[in-house]
């Protein structure tokens, strides 16, 4: 791989990974805030409104960070991936432009009302503002997933004489089966992050003996939403995603599992390190026949190994793909255990006194971020060596007119600015958690 191509890939990977820290939380928190506000309207308990107000402020800071780190993403298609943009603009730009036209205007219009308009709008009006922001952010997520899904599984296109692609059906691109499966998986992944973060702050307040009423609300809503999202993440959404991938990107499935040779009754590797030279797994812990069962529903089925595919079509970094996938799946399983246990204790009315469980909930919040990003790494590293699966290779898509040095220059620039942004954000969020939930005051409304 040449230097320029490598740097363009790192440039995109770095900026998109950093960006995705924020939308996964805001997309996850938005429905939870709507839930809190609904409970507030139903029960007339002011603590719910207070809880919603606290999360609205956390949402506001993260949303802003998502917007400012998201703008470079839209530009980067053109700056760093110009050949790709030129060839696929007739298709990919449809969801990208629709995101701008349909969701960004919606979000920006209602965000101001949502963040600062509680007094002006009254409880019902403000509920609607919260709902519209939720709608806008989930719509936004859909358009981006639809763009990505077309790269994973191109549909509804035709190729013109100059090699470029053009859309043949408006609904075809938006209704891509891959997009629908990937969307529900991505969104419930975001809710997992939102739920863990909400439960963690609640657990912190309960352990520290502050804001106990709000703390209990945070933990309860976080755990209930968390268990639902964590289970849904594995079954049916993750299960469907895995099967669809095995059907359409079999070489990716083989690489995710580091299955070097085709095997009937293939095992599932729980742990171990792929050895690319000897084509085995070192230090393996496996569950016999589980992989065949998960993909085909029978323990006897043969799963195609990497040996069935020409090496130039293998994902370019098999170990990275293997680890991304195993980190995602391993953490996802752990999340079900944590949330399941918490939900059980909650049901028995013992959770708020079980300090050991609250400690676990408080410390667990970074892991959903890791799992979500590992999931995206699995999707993107797994798509290699293709930009558009089966149609356009990655080395055909980058900006050949931008030199490696210039790419390195802007990559370093983004790293510096994002480091600064991280410091400011950590300061603000920490201070917000320190201050805690507060009643509606004159100045802040």
């Amino acid at each position: 791989m040449n230097d320029a191509l490598f740097l363009h890939r790192i440039h995109f990977a770095f900026t998109i990974t950093y960006h995705y820290i924020f939308p996964q939380l805001t997309m996850g928190l938005a429905p939870l805030i709507v839930v809190l506000k609904t409970l507030g309207l139903r029960t007339k308990n002011p603590a719910y409104h207070q809880a919603a107000r606290f999360w609205t402020r956390v949402f506001g800071i993260n949303f802003l960070a998502g917007v400012v780190t998201g703008i470079p993403m839209e530009f980067q298609f053109g700056t760093n991936w110009s050949r790709f943009s030129q060839l696929t603009g007739g298709v990919i730009a449809q969801p990208v432009a629709m995101e701008g036209v349909f969701s960004f205007f919606l979000e920006s219009a209602f965000l101001g009302l949502f963040l600062f308009g509680e007094k002006r709008l009254g409880p019902k009006g403000h509920w609607w503002a919260a709902f519209m922001v939720f709608l806008g952010s989930w719509l936004s997520g859909f358009f981006i997933v639809a763009a990505n899904a077309w790269m994973q599984h191109p549909v509804a296109y035709q190729r013109l004489a100059d090699g470029s692609f053009q859309v043949t059906s408006f609904w075809g691109v938006l209704g891509n089966p891959w997009a629908l499966i990937q969307y529900v998986h991505t969104m419930s992944g975001a809710v997992v992050t939102g739920a863990f973060v909400m439960a963690a702050v609640g657990a912190f307040y309960l352990l520290a003996g502050r804001h106990s009423e709000c703390g209990r609300i945070f933990v309860r809503v976080g755990v209930v939403a968390g268990i639902a999202a964590c289970v849904f993440q594995i079954f049916p959404s993750g299960d469907m995603h895995g099967k669809y991938m095995a059907a359409h990107q079999p070489v990716t499935t083989a690489a995710m599992e580091a299955l070097f040779h085709s095997t009937a009754g293939a095992p599932m590797v729980i742990m171990g390190q792929p050895d690319m030279e000897r084509q085995t797994i070192d230090n393996p812990i496996v569950v016999n026949k589980a992989l065949s069962f998960l993909i085909y529903g029978t323990t006897r089925a043969e799963v195609k190994g990497l040996d069935q595919f020409p090496p130039q079509d293998w994902p370019t970094n098999v170990p990275l793909l293997y680890f991304s996938y195993h980190v995602m799946a391993g953490l996802g399983t752990l999340f079900v255990a944590i949330m399941g246990l918490s939900a059980l204790l909650l049901r028995k009315g013992r959770l708020f006194r079980a300090r050991w469980m609250l400690w676990i909930l408080m410390l667990a919040f970074p892991f959903p971020y890791i799992a979500n990003i590992a999931g995206w790494l699995t999707a993107e590293v797994g798509r290699q060596p293709w930009l558009v699966y089966g149609l356009l290779r990655t080395e055909q898509g980058y900006s050949a007119n931008v030199s490696a040095a210039n790419t390195l220059f802007t990559l370093l620039g983004f790293m510096g600015i994002y480091a600064l942004l991280s410091i400011f954000l950590m300061f603000l969020v920490t201070r917000l958690i320190q201050q805690g939930p507060a009643p509606l005051s004159g100045g802040e409304a």
């Binding site: 700056t79 036209v101 600062f116």
Partner: protein, 346 residues
């Protein structure tokens, strides 16, 4: 069909400059016009609820450009790589400046974020002005329509120019004057008292400079690319556009003296819309001319997406933008009128 999309993309960009222009202009004048902490808070409150929505116009314009003219999007974004990345960094700094300013109380932090906001706004206006200059002047393109523009070469708009040369710097200065004026007129509309009075002085001093700079930029454009007048020769009705530019300038002069704050701001809108439309009309059907070999230039014909994409797009784009304009109107109606210190925003 290509002509329709040319107009739509131009419309989005004009919408962006008119709307985000006033909050960029307010930013550029931030340190100069607003002196005390209370005044600076007022400036931020005046643009607080709307600046984010204004910036969406840039994103939506970028998306629309990508959809309708993929080649132009690919070639110009990668060719102006350095300038565009600097613009992205400035947009980041500016957003950090505005939003973090609201969350801190310490005077040193406020001064820091005020500075970041002002400097980033100012440089953004300069870069956007230079960008327009680059599009009018053209760049040195290969037969595949790709290029890589250095930030500067010998500062002359010859066959192999950089992003900055004397012509594009002149465009940047005009842009700084015009957009600062636009920002000042918006803030006059939104404020009262000493801040309002100081901004009026700014407008009075800026006006003659803007008239002189506009005339100089027009002359320089005709000197650098004489063929930009071709469309005006074949379609004399286009002369209505420069007439509107003059009307806009006259309107600013007249209404600032008679106290018509709203009309003065609208005149400034007219000036900006007419100037940009004048540039678009001069370029058409070119999108980005080639300075060396004219045959390599990007036009609406060689850059447009396939016919099917363009027809499908017209439907969703029309529906989406109709809704978007609706939101914009609602938000501006809700937040109309003067801002006062300690009002409900931030």
């Amino acid at each position: 069909m290509q002509t329709i999309w040319f107009s739509l993309v131009a419309l989005m960009l004009v919408g962006y400059v008119v709307l985000d222009g006033f909050d960029l202009g307010a930013g550029a004048l931030h340190l100069l016009a607003a002196r005390t902490d209370a005044e600076r808070r007022l400036v931020l409150e005046a643009i607080g609820p709307v600046w984010d929505g204004n910036e969406v116009w840039l994103l939506a314009a970028g998306g629309t450009l990508f959809y309708a003219f993929p080649l132009l999007y690919a070639s110009s974004f990668s060719g102006f790589y350095l300038a565009l990345n600097i613009v992205l960094w400035l947009l980041l700094f500016r957003a950090i400046g505005i939003e973090f300013r609201m969350h801190v109380a310490h005077p040193l932090w406020c001064a820091f974020f005020d500075g970041a906001f002002c400097l980033a706004s100012l440089l953004l206006i300069v870069f956007f002005g230079a960008a327009l200059g680059n599009v009018l002047r053209g760049v040195s393109m290969g037969p595949d329509h790709y290029f890589f523009a250095p930030l500067w070469t010998d500062f002359r708009p010859g066959a192999h120019p950089g992003i900055l040369d004397w012509y594009t710097i002149l465009c940047a200065v005009v842009s700084l004057a015009a957009v600062s004026m636009h920002g000042a007129l918006y803030l006059i509309l939104k404020t009262e008292g000493s801040l309002n009075a100081r901004l009026r002085t700014v407008v009075k001093r800026l006006w003659p400079a803007l008239v002189a700079l506009s005339a100089a930029a027009l002359a320089a454009t005709i000197f650098v690319r004489p063929n930009l007048l071709d469309n005006y020769r074949t379609a004399p009705v286009a002369w209505l556009i420069p007439a509107s530019v003059v009307a806009g300038l006259a309107g600013i002069f007249h209404f600032t003296r008679t106290g018509g704050e709203r009309n003065a701001f609208l005149s400034s809108c007219l000036y900006i819309v007419a100037t940009l439309c004048g540039a678009a009309a001069a370029l058409y059907p070119a999108l980005l001319p080639s300075s060396a070999d004219p045959a390599n230039g990007i036009t609406i014909y060689n850059a447009a997406a396939g016919a099917a994409s363009l027809s499908i797009g017209l439907i969703w784009w029309g529906i989406g933008m109709a809704i978007a304009v609706g939101y914009t109107v609602v938000v501006y109606t809700m937040f109309k009128g003067k801002v006062h210190s300690g009002s409900s925003y931030h």
